[in-house]
């Protein structure tokens, strides 16, 4: 059975192809359009998926959309009318969008793909998210906690998954949403909602619990371990542009202007607000995890939804001790939901439990540049000394190999690497990615040596392999990696194996032999405001414009060399390595 899953019109539009229960391809639209978080209909991704499967749209048995538009319209109309007259400014725009386009999703999909409408089906948003988490996990049964912005009505759900079954047990409904609450506070702090929440949680490590009382007032627990969000201080129930209201500023003080100074550390007030946000998220999510353990007794926990992108929060939830093993899919939000929806329909079609590889590297291979340059390496082993030499000299190198991964954090296929011990390298990596000076950095270690350097909670191997967990550094690593770690000594760590990422693993091993510390900075090969690189040309563009020293694209090594000075201005050019 050939099933195409589609997610679109929120953020991170994507498409995924599943044939006979086996994921063949999964692509994110932003990689093709080069618009970060692109939410438009994923026509490029659909084409790429069909190409990967050797299919035409007419060959598809089913096309599944990741949510139910009619229920979502019901929610939008009801909340806009209930919020009137506060919603009057956005009602017209919203209805125009819904009545002109979104409501007729079946027509839209049929037109775009030229398939019969009777082949188009819809899943519940949270069912698709739960399926994405469970079917990419190594577990045979699991409890699943889904928490994010909002789908149709549900903002947070507790689910139980077993075999090919996905069952939603309980839900918290809109407008009470921890995901939208976190986005609103992120916007209040002058950062970009939907993208910078992890930055804000990292900032929390620098704050004090000054606003604990205020945040306890904003999010209150209910008797069934759910929660309510004080709507009088927020606008997200009816306005997707400005998420917080005057009431929040009365409670916490004036909002920080957007990215007031990207290089400056936000003041103590911002750090204290971030601390309050992190504390209340951890408290509510931990309570939900304990309630989930009561309703769906299991040793295995899967976390998914927008909030599962927050790796520090994942660590706090698992620390509740209610579960023994943890899995977090690499694309826990909308992009993964396209894959989840397709896997769910496959499971419900009677084909048994579908199983996707946890890394979700189901995209295209790196598209080679037409203008070939650089040096073709005879073997993978040849790449290691070339990369190592530049890293040891304080350089930053890029690695683009294998199939593209779903999600915004690369698991080794599209990464920037540098020496995590050096302050200058940490600063360079942040400059390359145009991120704030205090932005948290991720690290990569060989899976078999991670326990030497970090305090790894037992049962987290799966979450560490997808890089979706923050862990605390041991004393030895803490002293050496102080510039890369958060002030509380934690960092998001990706554990790689020789089978999954042979070049990266060999490079880490070689670096460990030379320095005694097999760990490198590991950020996604992208630049703020642009998606992860897709083609060799994208990688070379980064090499030309940013402070990268070299990039390995498949088996082709490109290095940056300084040409002879012709004028007073230093210039840089690309060249293959000659030695």
């Amino acid at each position: 059975m050939r099933i195409l899953g589609i997610s679109a019109f929120h953020h991170d539009a994507a498409a995924a192809l599943v044939v006979d229960g086996v994921p063949i391809a999964a692509m994110q639209e932003e990689r093709y359009t080069r618009r970060p978080f692109d939410s438009s209909f994923p026509k490029w991704s659909v084409r790429a998926c069909l190409r990967a499967g050797g299919l035409r749209a007419a060959d598809l048995d089913q096309v599944v959309f990741y949510e139910k538009p009619l229920r979502k319209f019901e929610r939008c109309l009801a909340t806009q009318l209930q919020s009137f007259p506060r919603s009057s400014g956005v009602f017209y725009k919203s209805m125009y969008l819904w009545l002109g386009d979104r409501l007729w999703m079946k027509n839209r999909i049929a037109d775009e793909l030229e398939v019969d409408t009777d082949r188009i089906v819809f899943t519940e948003h949270h069912e698709a998210l739960a399926a994405n988490a469970f079917f990419t996990s190594p577990f045979e049964e699991a409890a699943v906690l889904i928490a994010g912005g909002v789908g149709e009505w549900a903002t947070t759900s507790l689910a139980r998954c077993s075999g090919s079954d996905v069952e939603i047990l309980a839900e918290v409904r809109f407008p009470h949403s921890l995901g939208l609450f976190a986005s609103a506070v992120t916007q209040y702090l002058g950062f970009e909602p939907g993208r910078d929440e992890e930055l804000v949680l990292s900032l929390a490590a620098r704050g004090q619990p000054r606003f604990a009382g205020a945040f306890a007032e904003l999010v209150q627990a209910t008797e069934d371990q759910g929660f309510t969000v004080d709507q009088s201080r927020f606008r997200f129930a009816f306005d997707s542009e400005r998420l917080f209201g005057q009431g929040l500023e009365e409670l916490l003080g004036p909002a920080r202007s957007p990215r007031a100074d990207p290089t400056a550390l936000p003041d103590a007030h911002a750090a204290d607000v971030a601390h309050g946000l992190r504390a209340v998220l951890e408290a509510r999510m931990t309570a939900l995890a304990l309630e989930l353990a009561r309703r769906a007794p299991s040793e295995n926990l899967c976390l998914t939804g927008d909030l599962a992108r927050l790796r520090r929060l994942n660590a706090a939830i698992f620390a509740s001790g209610a579960f023994r093993r943890l899995h977090v899919p690499p694309a826990p939000a909308e992009a993964g939901a396209a894959l989840g929806a397709a896997l769910l329909v496959a499971a419900r079609s009677g084909g048994g439990r579908p199983r996707a590889h946890p890394a979700c590297a189901l995209g295209e291979a790196v598209v080679p540049a037409s203008d070939e340059g650089g040096r073709v390496l005879a073997s993978e082993a040849e790449a290691v000394p070339l990369l190592l030499e530049r890293i040891e000299a304080g350089g930053v190198v890029g690695l683009a190999r294998g199939r593209m991964e779903l999600g915004h954090h690369s698991r080794g296929g599209r990464v920037l690497l540098g020496d995590a011990r050096a302050e200058a390298t940490c600063r360079r990596v942040r400059r390359i990615r145009l991120s704030e000076d205090f932005a948290p950095l991720s690290l990569v270690v060989p899976a078999e040596r991670a326990a030497e350097l970090f305090e790894l909670p037992p049962g987290t191997a799966s979450a560490l392999a997808t890089g979706m967990l923050a862990v605390r550094a041991k004393d030895r690593a803490r002293a050496a990696l102080s510039f890369a770690l958060d002030p509380d000594g934690t960092a998001c760590v990706l554990c790689v194996s020789a089978e999954e990422a042979p070049v990266l693993h060999a490079l880490l091993t070689a670096f460990g032999q030379r320095t005694g510390l097999p760990v490198l900075l590991c950020e996604t090969l992208d630049q703020r405001g642009l998606p992860m690189v897709r083609t060799e040309a994208d990688a070379l563009d980064l090499l030309r414009r940013m402070e990268l020293d070299a990039v390995l694209v498949n088996d082709r090594f490109h290095a940056r060399v300084a040409p002879e000075k012709k004028t007073g201005e230093p210039q840089l050019a690309l060249a293959g390595v000659s030695r």
């Binding site: 019901e74 209805m95 125009y96 002109g100 079946k106 027509n107």
Partner: protein, 61 residues
């Protein structure tokens, strides 16, 4: 013409599903509002399917 009729048919089907779902649930009170909004929306769907008129749909509305 076949496509236009087919698009309109799917549109009517979707509208019917929406009204039935609302009427049977806690948001039955939305039905009058939807009844006012849907005819305009269906005209929109139909006009979009007519190649000559489609570019002017947004001007018309």
């Amino acid at each position: 013409m076949q496509n236009r009729i087919s698009a309109l048919g799917t549109g009517f089907k979707t509208a019917g599903e929406l009204v039935r779902a609302l009427w049977g649930g806690p948001f039955w009170w939305l039905v009058p509002a939807v009844a006012l909004l849907l005819p305009a929306a269906l005209i929109f769907v139909f006009l979009q399917a007519v190649p000559l008129v489609a570019p002017f749909v947004y001007t018309v509305f």
